[in-house]
Amino acid sequence: MAQRYRLDKGGRIDRDRPVDFTFNGRAYQGYAGDTLGSALLANGVHLVGRSFKYHRPRGIFSAGAEEANALVQVGEGAATLADLKATQVELYEGLSARSVNCYPSLDFDIGEVNSLASKLFPAGFYYKTFMWPQAGWPMYERFIRKAAGLGEAPLEPDPDFYDKRYAHADVLVAGAGPAGLAAALAAARSGARVILADEQHELGGSLLSGRDEVDGKPGSDWAAEAERELRANENVRILPRSVVFGYYDHNWIDILENLSDHLANKPADAPRQRMWKVRANQVVLATGAIERPLVFRDNDRPGIMLASAARSYVNRWAVRPGESAVLFTNNDGAYAAALDMKAAGIKIAAAVDLRAEAEGELTQAARDAGIEVLAGHGIAATEGHKRVRRVKVAPLSADGRSLAGEARTLNCDLVAMSGGWNPTVHLHSQSRGKLRFDAELATFVPDRAVQAERSAGACNGTFGLADVLGEGFAAGEAAAEAAGFSVEKAPRPQAGNGKFLPARWLWLTPSSKPVGHGGKHFVDFQNDVTAADLQLALREGYTSVEHVKRYTTTGMGTDQGKTSNVNALGVVSEFRGVPIEELGVTTFRPPYTPVTFGAWGGRDVGDLFDPIRRTPMHSWHARAGAEFENVGMWKRPWYYPKAGEGMHEAVQRESKAARESLGILDATTLGRIDIQGPDSAEFLNRVYTNGWKTLKPGAIRYGLMLGEDGMVMDDGVTACLGENHYLMHTTSGGAAEVLAHLEEYLQTEWPELQVYLTTVTEQYATAAIAGPNARKLLAELTDDIDVDPDAFPFMSWREGTVAGVWARVMRISFSGDLSFEINVEAHNGLHLWQTLMNAGEKYNITPYGTETMHVLRAEKGFIIVGQETDGTVTPVDLGMEKLCSTKKDFIGKRSLSRPDMQDPNRKQFVGLLPDDPNEVLEEGAQLVETVKSQPPMDMVGHVTSSYMSPNLGRGFALALVKGGLHKHGQKVYAPMPGKTIACTVTSPVFFDPEGERLRA
């Protein structure tokens, strides 16, 4: 029968909206408002998964984020999701889910043989075995990896996208249970901007599962009213389905909002999830508490769940999680579950109470309702494989460490257990707030806050509803006040104030045999960690709680120990005889619950992963069929292949044309920094190795920039634009780094200098025309610039009109030929380029890309920073010692005086000519002076650049070679796989060594 275990009435489900779904291929029905967990239980499905190590059958164990057992794979194909907790998955039409980590099926799982041999697999067994033979580990590992993992990663790219948003709040409230709602109300009434986030789709928290009244009406009605008031306030943002998962420095809070996972028809144009990055003036944590399981023998069978979960299923989802229940508790509060279950028609076989004197308001009420209370008893054993069938209960000795009488058997199909409550202190702890062990509650509660944060309600160890509400209001008021708002104290709502105490703290329920000798006392359900495992770790000397955790893996599952951590500490404390407060806790790490990678990436994927920069001439290059190279963020034309050409042919053609007649290069990408201020020349003097004080307006100078370590970090030309005004050029990829370097010195080392830096890279577009016909072409396109070599010498610049637009023309050269770099305003870039191309046709003007640029400059022996240099090369190594002024100080100068900098055997910049002119060395090839038949060989250097040059008619290379400046003419060898290439060390300048063409 469909939904056989659904109660006839009640619950926060919409009985008018049935929802069809499948689980492990079978069709079921639930209602809107269900979670997958509640819907499965409504259909009597308890066995939902297998445990990680032993593959023991596991059932639904909680009703929320703490779920350790019911992990499911939801959806198929590209949209599949691994390792979701069934208790958190909102039901929607067509949802398909299946169990993870079982083969061939959930009902029959071969992995369960592990369970039989479990004695061989205590904690850390893998550190002690799989060692023989040592070479066998890859085989063992392959086997182990077959068993690894729970769910499955999707096999296709994610069809969804994700969003991020920044927000600011005066008061951020995490959690919308009674405390959170109260805090939000109080803060909002003061006029503060409030963000209220809750991981569930409905606000109300525990009020949705209980039967408490607030101000004389059902708690859920009070929550609904509170929500109405908050929604009516425009200063309040309510974020349901939003888990506050991370608390970082400076009150930076991360929230993950789920937008479409719960929808049957997911909108294609809306994000799946949104990550909120909130900077909050004040934070109120109202994240509630998580019930603690009890550690007893074989406490992991399907049908054994938290008492609060059983209660939630009855009250909130109108589901009977069993027909016949045993309550197992150590406290008074859990009797509420027994009472509510009984009211829902579930038989209560007995209440097994660890307390010798089972007293308390609710305990009494249970007795009054006719529930048998077995005080001073514990569950000593359980039976049933895929569902709990019966439990053995026995009286305990006075100290609670052993059984003190005959066991009695109770038939049941549900065990509702309660070991007390753990405040959800995760966010407080993430914020670096301290924790304190509260002996009365036997758990950790927030102590001192480190950031502007306060905890209220159950997460603060406060459990009576009236107290919780009061604390919530007070926290909201205090937060608003601290954020600068004036607050009128509101009257507190009326509510009952029952606490879950009194309780008896017994970390381990004894059974007929000592722990480890029979049955399993599970502490961490997901990772199959038992009390015996913890004891083994301690026995072996893994005494620190971090060691216990790592050795046994307790608390390291996808639930991150939400239900196991404190119990583990309890077991450790008892075994070691050390009070818990002295043990300390393991660190709470973000996130509170797992967070989608895609949400972290947000929109910073695809085209927006890293911005792409294109020059104003890009469209022309693309039309011309250019291949592009990524340089920094720029797309630069790499070469322009004509029909039938590969890179080699294109580059040979381009290189030749640029030497013989006219080439044109898009040089827009060079970094440009505008430098102004009365101390500009002094500044340049300090950041470059050479002198700048004599540079006159109209002139240009090349500079080498070193890091503090004396190593070359950038180079480029700087033009003097006017008095106290310069334009610095950096390498294309180095612009940002250089600007940061300069700013750092200005701001931290030399605040006395009056210098102002502005990045102006984007303001200009630059076309470099190079080759013997460059002057002729320029002359044709300008009336007001005198291009005569005397009027416009090498290393100077002139301003005027080129191609009808304003231009700054620089006579500089990176190709080694006569060359002009024409800078125009960026928006005129394409116009300039086209005009040059049209007018240059008669000179066979040939566009060339970065590859040809590299060939041309290499022929000339010009370095590229980052290619000839790698952060270990000094100006001396490059043969540029004369660029280092001896008259002034500059960054890196002192480092250059270190002894190793004088070593004549440092790697120095040279040219290489392979003996075979057709040979092109591989860039990166290592060089030796003596070839050996096998490694190791002493390396003396490496090839930094290497090309086939049509102008030299042979292959040539640049290299760094030990002592190379004095080795011209000597032989070195590049031992490559399969062959050794012999070369001669030469000067790095292969072309026009006197620079006549440059100055022509």
Binding site: K119, E141, A153, G246, P590, P594, N630
Partner: protein, 417 residues
């Protein structure tokens, strides 16, 4: 004698319900005096103590750890092990270490799960291709296994990767070291602790060194939270806190301490079978034997001793992972943490004597010292025992910052995991 670990001892102990396993190491109270005190119970410190006892006959040794052993970067790292470093000096060091890794499980009788599943370093730009090839050629001539792989081969090794990188960071190839891989970090600390303890080394946890006793320029002991302890020699191996300890000894180190973070996903069935590093975008990934994707990030931009990483770095790292592996966008981050890494200006370590006689420092491993654990400890023990740098350690002395003989590995690895 320690009980030997094996499948047989497991079976035997199963019969006694595992109640007779001996302690892996003792927890002794500190003695008044030791021949050598090692400060820092991370992997490097424990290995140092082990080799002092094993190879140099110095067994009156204490390892002093302020927290729990292995709780520093040793227990926080992404466990990438490789030796294909560019410079001869580094290659010698890391290869020495890799050889020790290959025999570690047997040597320690403790399964450290050293998994030589292969390490791929991707090249995304032409410049990276150049540098990668340079490194591979250098490795080859140093006799270290290292090979260039074309994009199609990368795809064979990592079928789920997106080679196109959206045109922005296309995979242009990469280097592969087949002998590289991962190991179980905790096991390394525990295995060496157990082995050192068996040789008589005292491992003293929850004991912070708060100062040094120095007489006439020679160290005579340490002051700790458990009192003063005399020592003839002191070796300091405290990673991110090296600068703090150097201050106590009255000198400065050229070290910046910064948070470096890592994170893991929820466990899924294995789909990444080797280690893949992408330096250009700062994203490193492998999959543990439990099924978690283990992801390493870049360092925070500022100096700090906080053992957690900043939010923007997580964002950048996971954006890069989403970009290279679009099908991982739906995976979820389960846990994120950080460690304090000690970085030198040249991204190479310091293994050195110091201005104080009898005081030695081993630090500066920064983002990449896990792989060096056995080798570093081995040569540091030799350095301490003989009061002079081991030949492999020589280039890594403090002197190099004066002479300028730096071993700059930046070019070869953005972050040198």
């Amino acid at each position: 004698m320690k009980a030997r670990y094996s499948i047989f001892s497991l079976a035997r102990n199963a019969l006694s319900s595992h109640e007779n396993w001996p302690q892996a190491w003792r927890s002794p109270e500190p003695k008044k005096e030791y021949d050598v005190v090692i400060v820092g119970g991370g992997g490097h410190g424990l290995v140092t103590a082990y080799y002092l006892a094993k190879e140099h006959g110095i067994t009156n040794v204490a390892v002093i750890e302020k927290g729990w052993l292995g709780g520093g970067n040793t227990g926080r790292n992404t466990t990438i092990v490789r030796s294909n470093y560019m410079w001869d000096e580094s290659a010698a060091l890391y290869e020495h270490s890799l050889k020790l890794w290959e025999n570690m499980t047997k040597e320690l009788n403790f399964n450290v799960m050293f998994s030589q599943r292969g390490v791929l370093n991707l090249a995304h730009t032409l410049n990276e291709v150049r540098i990668t090839k340079r490194r591979i050629h250098a490795n080859r001539l140093n006799g270290i296994d290292s090979e260039w792989v074309e994009p199609e081969q990368v795809k064979e090794w990592v079928p789920i990767i997106d080679l196109r990188g959206n045109g922005r960071y296309p995979v242009l190839g990469g280097s592969l070291q087949r002998r590289g891989g991962t190991a179980r970090h905790d096991a390394v600390a525990w295995g060496y602790a157990r082995a050192a303890d068996a040789l008589g080394v005292d491992i003293i946890q929850q004991c912070a060194v708060e100062g040094f006793d120095i007489e006439d320029g020679r160290v005579t002991g340490v002051r700790t939270s458990k009192g003063a302890i005399k020592a003839k020699k002191v070796g300091v191996v405290v990673a991110g806190h090296a600068g703090v300890l150097a201050n106590m000894a009255g000198f400065k180190l050229p070290i910046n301490s910064r948070p470096l973070q890592a994170l893991v996903s929820e466990p899924v069935k294995p789909c990444v079978h080797c280690v893949v590093m992408a330096g250009a975008v700062h994203a490193y990934i492998s999959q543990s034997d439990k099924g978690e994707l283990v992801i390493g990030a870049g360092t925070d931009a500022y100096n700090s001793y906080a053992q957690w990483g900043s939010n923007p770095v997580t964002e950048d790292t996971l954006a890069a992972i989403c970009e290279l592996y679009p099908l991982f966008r739906r995976m979820r981050m389960m846990r994120q943490w950080g460690g304090v890494v000690d970085t030198c200006p040249d991204a190479s370590p310091i293994i050195s004597t110091t201005p104080v006689k009898g005081l030695y420092f081993n630090c500066g491993w920064g983002t990449g010292g896990f792989k060096a654990t056995p080798g570093s400890g081995h040569i540091f023990a030799d350095t301490v025992a003989n009061d002079r740098p081991h030949p492999i350690a020589e280039p890594f002395s403090l002197e190099r910052f004066k002479t300028g003989f730096l071993i700059d590995e930046h070019a070869a690895a953005g972050v040198a995991h």
